[in-house]
Amino acid sequence: MKNFYRILSTAIFFLAVFNNTYAAEKAEYLKTNWSFKGLFGKFDRGALQRGYQVYSEVCSSCHSMKYVSYRNLVEKGGPEFSEAQAKAIAASFEVTDGPNSDGEMFTRPGKLSDRFVMPYENVKAAQAANGGAYPPDMSVLVKARGGGANYIYSLLQGYDDPPSGVIMDEGVYYNKYMYGNKIKMSNPLSDGLVEYADGTEATVEQMSKDVTTFLMWTAEPHLEARHKMGFKAIVYLIILTILVYFSMKRIWSRIETEV
């Protein structure tokens, strides 16, 4: 068994070294107790639904979400809107379809099978409307940033007056958590900006947490299934390992050699 501890400690050492290399470039982000963290982490359904509200009322005017469909809003492990609710959400968007039999493009109300409607036709249009900066697509944004959920959560609350001596250009804002502290997105949130249907008070902190939870789900729509399966798989492997260990001991007992 001694060798196992050696193998294990080597593996842990590797990991520790690895983690340090990436920890070095991270700023101290704000933290909160995420519902989706941990072995049994699940999304807080209320937070996901509120988060969708923040996304659709605030973020979606500039940020696209091109890999997510309206049908995903109904699926298990997501915000789990009722089918009627999701259909109503989809129908509130105009989708360009076609060409029809006359060869013309036409618009129709959105369906569950449609991807989220994009605020701009293309990247160039988005840049033109935002002073040259492209508001990144939000589908996998949480996974595309080093600090993950904590980073997005911090960034949304990181707007501040620039320290004396730092001069900001027109259309550039100071943010404590942004790389280089300069961000082209103006502070998107303010207390009471949205009115939550479930009566939750819409503070900046609350909205940041809700929308980040929502973004975590859009980035990892199968997170709940993954955690559930992972727990079963690991318990199964541990039991099997113990059984195989004792079989091994039994088989090797025929020989005078330790295993």
Partner: protein, 420 residues
């Protein structure tokens, strides 16, 4: 190759075996005499076979849904992650499987270094292993390009650009590799083709690697030649099979933890941003398993010499059986080599660490010292050590003395030294 003649019991078996001796092969594999004192560091061969099969099976499944096109690759990966049944599971196993594969191969290589498994008569096994390792690096690098994220694109740009360091023909070679004047769709499609091909080359080499192993048989922690079969050996089945199986399960628990709970920790966040030729990431970092060589590359100020240093760092391993002049295999009986071995391990870990850091200031200095030491170890320390080192007495057999039957290394050593 076979140690005894095998005759199938059934008539049909005999008929078949005379024409294609598969049953003889199976019998050879089950009876294959294995040293009974192999420790758990020897279980990584089986683990690596498992890793290769896992990568091939998950890779085939992914290839059914992946689209190798610069405009569609990123989206098709998201399609796999979202819409394909258990696509997330298959992709995370494949992505983390690459890291697990390298973790296992590094343990396997360093086990060889410690116990001198590369020495005569196992040089061919060792060289085949180095070729497999090189192919693994090529496969892993090209696989990382396929999702067509920012790190994919810029990693591909940096690595392929290394060839431009070759005098005269360098630029031409790079254009030829790219299939154009920058990393673009033609690069992606050829990388996908090669990424699909290489695992099967590796599989073929693994068969040769195991074949070559079965000629002299396994080395062992004591590092002495043993009689086969004898009291020192056990048949591969069931003894080694169950032991390898047990170690594999332990390995799978670690593997499962990565896949299910931290599937993205070993990757770089930037690879979830779609490739953009107009935006360069702040730091271009290869995957963790290539970092030591990346550090060697960057520690040399000249581009061509840097590439030469990086390649030599790998190829020097192929010459190892002749660079190590000591007749004693196992580091257990080489007190000085043992210390240098651990310094080398630390040196490689340090190289990996500075490889992830920006190449400037103190990091660059450390990288240079560590690179110099790496070559010093293989080119100076090992050849000299073989002549200078006073080795400990080596036991005559694993079960020595014959009557006592004690496998205990300490007693064996004690008895050996008291005889002298």
């Amino acid at each position: 190759m076979s140690d005894h003649e095998y005759t199938p019991k059934s008539k049909f078996g005999k008929w078949f075996n005379d024409r294609l001796p598969l049953l003889s092969l199976a019998s050879h594999l089950t009876d294959y005499p294995t040293p009974k004192n192999l420790n758990y560091w020897w279980t990584f061969g089986g683990i690596l076979t498992f890793c290769l099969i896992t990568q091939i099976v998950t890779g085939l499944t992914l290839a059914m849904h992946y689209i190798a096109h610069a405009d569609m690759a990123f989206e098709s990966v998201e399609h796999i992650m979202r819409d394909v049944n258990y696509g997330w599971l298959i992709r995370y196993i494949h992505a983390n499987g690459a890291s697990m594969f390298f973790l296992a191969v590094y343990i396997h290589i360093f086990r060889s270094l410690f116990y001198g498994s590369y020495k005569s008569p196992r040089e061919i096994i060792w060289i085949l292993g180095i070729i497999i390792y090189l192919l693994m690096m090529a496969a892993a690098f090209m696989g990382y390009v396929l999702p067509w994220g920012q790190m994919s694109f810029w990693g591909a740009t940096v690595i392929t650009n290394l060839f431009s360091a070759i005098p005269l023909v360098g630029e031409g070679i790079v254009t030829w590799l790219w299939g154009g004047y920058s990393v673009d769709n033609p690069t992606l499609t050829r990388f996908f083709t090669l990424h699909y091909l290489i695992p099967f080359l590796i599989l073929g080499l693994v068969v040769l690697h195991i074949w070559a192993l079965h000629v002299p048989g396994n080395n062992n922690p004591v590092g002495i030649d043993i009689k086969k079969p004898s009291k020192d050996t056990v048949p591969f089945h069931p003894y080694i099979v169950i032991k390898d199986g047990f170690a594999l399960l332990m390995f799978m628990i670690v593997f499962a933890f990565f896949v299910f709970y931290t599937p993205n920790i070993l990757g770089h966040a930037d690879n979830y941003i779609e490739a953009n030729p107009l935006v360069t990431p702040a730091h271009i970092v290869p995957e963790w398993y290539l970092l030591p060589f990346y550090a060697i590359l960057r520690s040399v100020p000249d581009k061509l010499l840097g590439v030469v240093a990086m390649l030599s760092a790998i190829l020097i391993l192929a010459a190892l059986p002749w660079l190590d002049t000591s007749k004693i295999r196992s580091a257990v009986f080489r007190p000085l080599y043992k210390q240098f071995y651990w310094i080398l391990v630390a040196d490689v870990l340090i190289l990996g660490y500075v490889g992830a850091m920006p190449a400037e200031g103190l990091y660059l200095l450390i990288a240079r010292i560590a690179t110099a030491y790496y070559f010093l170890h293989f080119l100076v320390i090992l050849p000299v050590l073989g002549f200078k080192e006073k080795t400990l007495p080596v036991p005559l057999s694993i079960t020595e003395p014959v009557l006592g039957g004690s496998p205990n290394l300490a007693t064996a050593k004690y008895k050996e030294s008291s005889k002298n």
